[in-house]
């Protein structure tokens, strides 16, 4: 996975900071400046268009086609066959959807709240708060691929720490945590949470520090206790950060890929939508039409949180 979606924050970005009308209009510029500006905008836009938007649209197009990946001229229409394969024939599709949903629910119910709890606790006047933060944040620095390897050392059937601690190591009751399809999704989710919670913690902590202290002061003077202050005053004031965290939780669960790919290439109980796309993507197992249909399903699901986020972010802005 590429960047963990960083805080694309600031849902109130720029609003009220500076009236937009103060910015210069293009027609006030000379020819040379317009050309320079055109280049400055043109290069990034070209890169985005060529490497992000056009391929995304091409995915949609190819999902209705069959293509052996040889000459461009051999692309043929294939109607809805690829989608029929995805929805009715592929035995991995619905399990993958279920696993993605499980991923989302697990992060939403356990990973994210744990991060929030850590942030709220650390936002108090705690001695050694920097040290705690450093510890919880450490896994965020690691790639999910590496996290898969580190946890393999915990989860291994014969040599893993967990089975030693459970006292089952070396017995027939020893569980192969990554290999047994009854438990491996949960095992992977625990490893993913190890990283996710620290990520949420640091974002929320930053948000908490942005809450106007006088709000708490007032609540405290009114006799509200800590919990009441948090839920009635702080949490509502954190609305922008809350949106970011919801979006991050959703997108991270849709993007989940690296860790299951490292564990077993996303098979045997670890199927995810992103994995199905890649299985039909490159090499000799490539079936472009079907891989594209999986990709479009993933795209459409991803657009829901993206659109919600963008409309919230940009609607308050640049009016």
């Amino acid at each position: 996975m590429s960047a963990p979606l960083a805080a694309l924050g600031d849902t109130e970005a720029g609003s009220g900071v500076r009236p937009p009308a103060r910015r210069r209009r293009l027609r006030q510029l000379g020819t040379r400046d317009r050309v320079v500006l055109g280049i400055m905008v043109g290069i990034p836009v070209l890169i985005q268009a060529l490497l992000v938007w056009i391929p995304t649209l091409a995915s949609v197009g190819l999902s209705f086609a069959k293509w052996d990946g040889l000459a461009l001229s051999s692309i043929q229409g294939n109607g809805l066959t690829n989608y029929r394969f995805v929805f009715t024939e592929s035995p991995q599709f619905w399990p993958a959807v279920l696993h993605n949903v499980t991923w989302l629910l697990f992060l939403a119910v356990i990973g994210t709240p744990l991060g929030l709890l850590l942030a709220v606790l650390l936002d108090q006047k705690i001695r050694g708060t920097r040290i705690y933060q450093t510890v919880f944040f450490l896994p965020v620095m690691l790639s999910l691929a590496l996290i898969g390897i580190i946890w393999e050392l915990i989860y291994s059937q014969d040599n893993g720490l967990l089975n030693y601690l459970l006292g089952t190591s070396g017995t027939p009751h020893a569980i192969d945590w990554f290999g047994d399809s009854k438990v491996n999704l949960w095992a992977a989710l625990v490893a993913a949470t190890w990283r996710h919670a620290g990520y949420i913690m640091i974002l929320y902590l930053a948000g908490l520090k942005g809450v106007d202290p006088s709000l708490r002061e007032a609540a405290s003077l009114d006799g509200a206790n800590g919990r009441q202050t948090f839920f009635r005053i702080v949490f509502p004031a954190m609305a922008p950060t809350n949106v970011i965290i919801v979006v991050i939780t959703v997108i991270e669960s849709l993007r989940a890929f690296d860790i299951v790919w490292v564990i077993n290439h996303g098979t045997n109980g670890l199927e995810l939508l992103s994995v199905l796309v890649v299985q039909y993507l490159v090499g000799e197992t490539q079936v472009i039409g079907i891989g594209s249909a999986f990709a479009v399903v993933l795209l459409i699901i991803s657009l829901v949180p993206i659109v919600i986020y963008l409309s919230r972010t940009f609607s308050t802005k640049e009016r």
């Binding site: 990946g69 059937q157 045997n268 299985q279 039909y280 197992t285 472009i288």
Partner: protein
Amino acid sequence: MAETASGRFQMDRRSLVKGLGLGAVGLISAPVLAACSTGGSSSGSSGGSGGGGGSLTFGSNASDPTPKQAYAAFVSAFEKKSKDKVTVNTSDHNGFQDKISNYLQGSPDDAFTWFAGYRMRYYAKKGLVADVSDVWAKIGSNFSDGLKAASTGEDGKQYFVPNYNYPWGFFYRKSFWADNGWTVPATFDDLIAVSKKMKAKGIIPIAFTDKDQWPACGTFDYLNMRINGYQFHVDLCAHKQGWDTPQVQEVFTTWKELLPYYDPSAAGLTWQEGAQKLGKKQAGMMLLGSFITQQFTDPAVLADIDFFPFPSVKVEGTDSVEAPIDGLMLSKKGGQNQAAKDMLAFMGTGAGQQAYYSVDKSNIMTAKDADTSGYSAFTKKLSEVIANAKHISQFFDRDALPAMAANVLEPAMLNFIKSGTINLSNIESQAKTLYAQQ
């Protein structure tokens, strides 16, 4: 590595064939290889310089040190004999596979390394490789019928010249079996019987491992060939036969009888781990390619390893052998080059194959007139199994559409290993869609 499902199992199987621990060396030495492939490196002794011979380019996927040197020795022997000049372009093994279609359409070399089976037939059908039937007219008598069939495209013409292969079968420890009075099973019932005895002693009868998913194909291929015959197997791989047929159902019904004798944690184990269990006498036998022997680093254990073919089940006795073949092909452009054809013809001779074998001894030569006096008794046994085969299969992922193998059958078989059930009508409908896309 390109970790597509196919890239993965090809790498796995290849890296063993190449020998242990060489992967790391290969990775370090690879920048040199990359340099080679841009400029092209001919391998030394061109024999009679200015001997008026032709010239050709040769694209090799032998990027690991041992096979790379082995092909260099082969090329050098050919140059000496023919006075032709060969330019070798070596590519990374997996990378070569991933870009093969692009390579063949773009600017391919005259000759290149490839595999027999569907993977050869597919590119033959797409018209991207050259017919070498004229070469086969010269070398045909040097190969068994099975090898010839494996080199033949759907149109009945030959497109491939074999170099080496390696058989699949059951491997076991002789002393372990002798001590317990177990005998080599000739039939499926014998296999069940001996497994029962092992299980009673608390031994895992069959070290079945399927974390990598491809190993299960070996059992499927053998059961299908033993129950329905070689032709049915080939037709099924090409999807000329359906998966929702009683024949295929019978394969899985029979297979189900074996499941109680498999390692209970098969789904999470790699084949290397299974081989270790075999070596430590925790398991009785294991069905795998002969590369398994490279897992036994202790010479005493290695000397104790023996082999028996997959027992007969219903038809054809043990006539069909699973023995993936690696060899050479010509690109379309190479088909116009007599020197390239001469090199393929040389690969079809004992002299050519010996030049390769002199460096890479982990495989079995395929030409009848190859000098096998250097074989160990064990290698001799393996080679006889192949030599006596009426039919040679290539392994499901080489005989069938790769996406069918990796994305459909292999997950379904893993599920079958765990649950004992398989949905053949679903496999058939997936097969219909996938094969229609090609």
